[in-house]
Symmetry: C2
Subunit: 353 residues, 2 copies
């Protein structure tokens, strides 16, 4: 091996017979070098397979060229939420297109979460963060403002937030599921909800209630759950134990719904004749269980991509000297999710096929 150390901009400059500044100009496409020289410099750089050291560049330009994503989940349950993997994939897709990086943190509790944001901000590891799983009265908003760390939220929080948000009208999907059941003739419709302290848990519940109210009904029962299969199974068991069980259950998430199917099956409930079930998200498995799950198809990859785009735009504006955080007028709107009707829903008491 000729040299063990990697080339620096100085090596390239020497090899090309110019100053380091010229190499920098050539690389970043700014005026100050002739086209001939620029081409020569780039050729030499390529031959030496030199790329600017990200650390040095980041330090000089005061930008990390990276965004952060802090996932607040107990490490045990994260695996079972297919939402995250696609969210991450979506964020990454956009971020890498800009030659940025994604820094990921998984935290288990609020203190750790707080500390992580502080570390990311103070060490300046990232230029901004994506905030997912927005909570009701989410303390992170204020915290991030105080830290001066730009952010983008998934869904616009109900409490004021100075950050742009990626918005999806998932109420529409939830209401479509309820309407579908109503159209089939169901009247005893129960809901297995997500935690009420999560904005999307609450929103989906409200959507169910609103659509039922529009038909002059109230939920037959609402069981609050936590989006896991285990909790979904418990919730369904609870509903089936009612003196007058529901004829249909609307779930706030697919894993809960699939677990619900399992419990019903185990109890000898005929599906979908005795019980209709709907989910939310349309995970891959949803179409492959029995009966295949009627659910609301969301595109969590698009969410991630949308959030990353909004964040990159926001940071570009700030790099351009605009100190504003963006706010509502920079919200990104995604197409609403749509209902996917499969075999897990049928008119109440329908005859077996």
């Amino acid at each position: 091996m000729a040299r063990s150390t990697r080339p620096t901009i100085a090596d390239v400059a020497r090899a090309a017979g110019v100053s380091r500044g010229a190499v920098s100009f050539a690389l970043n496409g700014r005026p100050g070098v002739s086209d001939r020289t620029r081409a020569r410099i780039l050729r030499v750089a390529d031959e030496m397979s030199w790329q600017p050291d990200h650390r040095a560049r980041a330090m000089r330009v005061q930008r990390a060229q990276a965004v952060g994503l802090v996932l607040h989940r107990s490490v045990d349950t994260i695996a079972d939420d297919p939402f995250f993997a696609s969210l991450i994939a979506g964020v990454e897709q956009v971020v890498s297109r800009h030659a940025w990086s994604l820094v990921l943190d998984v935290v288990a509790d609020d203190d750790e979460e707080r500390a992580t944001y502080e570390r990311l901000a103070r060490e300046r590891r990232v230029d901004g963060v994506v905030v997912s799983d927005v909570r009701v009265d989410d303390p992170r908003i204020g915290h991030l403002v105080a830290l001066g760390l730009p952010a983008v939220t998934l869904q616009r929080p109900t409490t004021p937030s100075p950050f742009p948000a990626v918005r999806v009208d998932d109420d529409r999907g939830m209401r479509a599921a309820v309407r579908h059941l109503l159209d089939l003739g169901h009247r005893r419709i129960a809901h297995v909800a997500g935690p009420a302290w999560l904005e999307h848990g609450l929103r989906r519940r409200r959507a169910v209630e609103a659509e039922l109210a529009a038909a002059g009904l109230a939920p037959h029962a609402v069981v609050e759950s936590d989006f896991t299969a285990a909790a979904g199974a418990r919730a369904t068991a609870q509903l089936l134990d009612l003196a007058e069980p529901p004829t249909a259950v609307v779930h706030a998430g697919d894993p809960m719904a699939v677990a619900g199917l399992g419990v019903a099956h185990a109890r000898g409930v005929r599906l979908p004749e005795d019980l209709s079930v709907t989910g939310f998200d349309d995970v891959e498995l949803a179409g492959h269980v029995h009966p295949p799950l009627t659910t609301v198809r969301t595109d969590s990859r698009a969410w991630g991509a949308g959030a990353a785009t909004a964040l990159v735009d926001l940071l570009a504006r700030r790099a351009g000297g605009d100190d504003a955080l963006g706010g509502e007028e920079h919200d990104v709107h995604l197409p609403p999710p749509e209902l996917v009707v499969r075999g897990s829903t049928a008119p109440p008491g329908a005859a077996a096929t």
Copy 2:
């Protein structure tokens, strides 16, 4: 706001009435400052809520304090592999304990993957990487060696690799599943395998074949698949269409197994009387479908944690001046997975309960 710029080490030094060097010494716990002064400096730093700028530090010490994880999956299928989320969580858990960061990349094809590793190495964004989904004759090993980027692989590749590996004897789990079926009296045992170009796909298949061979049998049929639910469904359909269908199917992954249950159900096959099914991984949903899935419980979080630990150790050794990559003697061995027997397996032709 008093000052818009964040404090630097110079500000802290000024406030504490010492030089910048003293602050650095105090912070990093090295000799050169008295205990009294050290305490004062740390107090001042804390009051100013100063933490060293990661970019500057990284540049000076020539370390990124970050590890990379490049996931090679089509963005569409990543969501459906619960393995990744826990793997990531496990890596993150260890990495954050060392105040490092995890940089994540998702790539869709080989070229992009190559380019990503090159970028990570040349820009020096990370100090090392975790290589998952090791492929047969994996080209990444040589590539990483050429790039001088330290790595740790998940499982020891069959082809020589200079990097440490995290090892789990998952053959044991697979063989246990087969033995369980043999003990129940099954003889027509089929296997829905992962892709043969993935080391763990191939390994699991070999394990099935080996255990059957030990009983003087061969697989009733082997269908190669790709770990997705859709492929699992197709595979099971194919097996059920055989003139003489198997009485039991061993799957290389849970999503495939769950989809297999769905297909069997839809065809009116009685489970588990007419068909026993096993999975691999024990995802949360596995215990909540009907019948609950007999599967092999793996701990992918431990995998991630083990890989991260091995990588951090490797990098620490290198920082200590040891240029070696580690190799086999630094492999981390994890406890073997164990079989979880649930309701999806029974003696062939068992009477319905």
